[in-house]
Structures are given as C-alpha cells and as structure tokens.
Symmetry: C2
Subunit: 122 residues, 2 copies
C-alpha cells in the first residue's frame, strides 16, 4: 500500500542523517498517510530528539500546516520506512500549529505549551 | 576570542532544528577552533544522536575532510554556542575519515569501525 522512500541503505533501519530527516513519511495507527516529518528538534546537550515538527496538507509545499509533537508520540515503522504517530488526527488538529510564515520561536515556553497540550489529552 | 553564531533565540541553549545542525562550531578542549559539525547521525528508533560527522579544513567547502566520532566525545559549550570535542587532534586524524567524494555508507559495520577505533584509543 505504501511505497518505501528511495533511501540509501544506510538510512533504512538504523541511522538517519540530520539533513535527511525532512520528508520521512508519517502515518496514523491505522496506516493512513498523515504527512511527513519537517524537522527534528534536538536537545543540544543530550543529543536526544525531543520534539518533531510534522507537516500536513498543502500541495507542493504550499498551504502546509506544521504540528509540533513530543518525540514520544512517534514510533518508527521499519517496514514502511516512516513513523507512526499515536495521536488522533482531531487531537492533532486542535493542538499547537503554525504555517510556514508564522513559525514561532521554539523556546522553552513554546516547548512547554506543546508538552502540556499533549500531556492533557493523552 | 570566538564569535557566537547568529542563531535565532530558540537555538542558543536548548533545542536545535535538524536542518540547522550543519555549521555548529567545534573546538578542542583548549578552546582552539577545530572545525564544524557536518551532520548528526540519529538513531531512527530512539531519536538519540549516536555519531557526529565533523568537517575539518578546506576553504569554502573545498578540500574538507570528514571525521565521524561518537556523540559521547562531544560536550555542548553554551557560552560559545558550539561543541568541545574531547578527542586529541592527532587521534582524530588517525581515525576513520572520508572526503566529500568518498562518503561511505554509514551502516552498522561502518558505525562499528568508528566505535571500535575510539574505544581502543580512549
């Protein structure tokens, strides 16, 4: 049903380079295509990905909406070379989001908002 | 002595976006400029940065050499907005490296070579 990306062998089931994160497919638990990873937000000190910004909708990059979610909401699906997000689509749509032209400063306050929203709906 | 990069407020001491990793300054323990981060290699399942590819030397991107090192060799230096690498420069130069045109497939075997080299010289 889903086509694996044309990724180099290095990336299929082990490591991904930071500059190749964008575009990794994201699906719902039901296997429905939801969007893609836009960026990983990485803790500079620990090297742990803490949030993932998903991009959903739009055509050819125009009209996309960006949804930051906690890393813990994603599970890697090696078979389909992508992530499964454990958040219901309607919950996601009610959560923090932004468009390409209104990207917020992703500081501790904003990160706290994202964490609080998903903690309260989990 | 060192100039902080012109980074947005979000990135100075908390999170960095995966597409902004490239160019983060790397210094020796003595504070000497060594090079920069080229890419983080991130474990797809855990979201943990496992290796960091450093780029050293060259002019305007030409003639650079790339050195993969374990994440554990780097410590974040908030004051200088960069990383301090705990590996002696000569050890680094004797370790696994590649040029832009000979980038290896960063599979488990290659990662194992990197880990083994630095485990044996640590």
């Amino acid at each position: 049903m889903t086509q694996p990306l044309d990724l180099p062998a290095e990336d299929v089931d082990f490591l991904i380079s930071s500059h190749k994160v964008d575009g990794t497919p994201v699906r719902t638990r039901d296997g429905v295509a939801l969007g893609a990873v836009s960026t990983f937000k990485i803790d500079r000190r620990t090297g742990q990905v803490t949030y993932v910004v998903l991009r959903i909708g739009g055509l050819l990059g125009i009209g996309q909406t960006f949804y930051p979610v906690p890393w813990s909401a994603l599970t890697y699906d090696a078979e389909n070379v992508g992530y499964v997000v454990s958040i219901d689509k309607r919950l996601l749509e009610g959560g923090p989001s932004f468009s390409g032209s209104t990207e917020p400063v992703f500081d501790r306050a904003y990160a706290g908002r994202v964490s609080s929203y998903y903690a309260s709906v989990a």
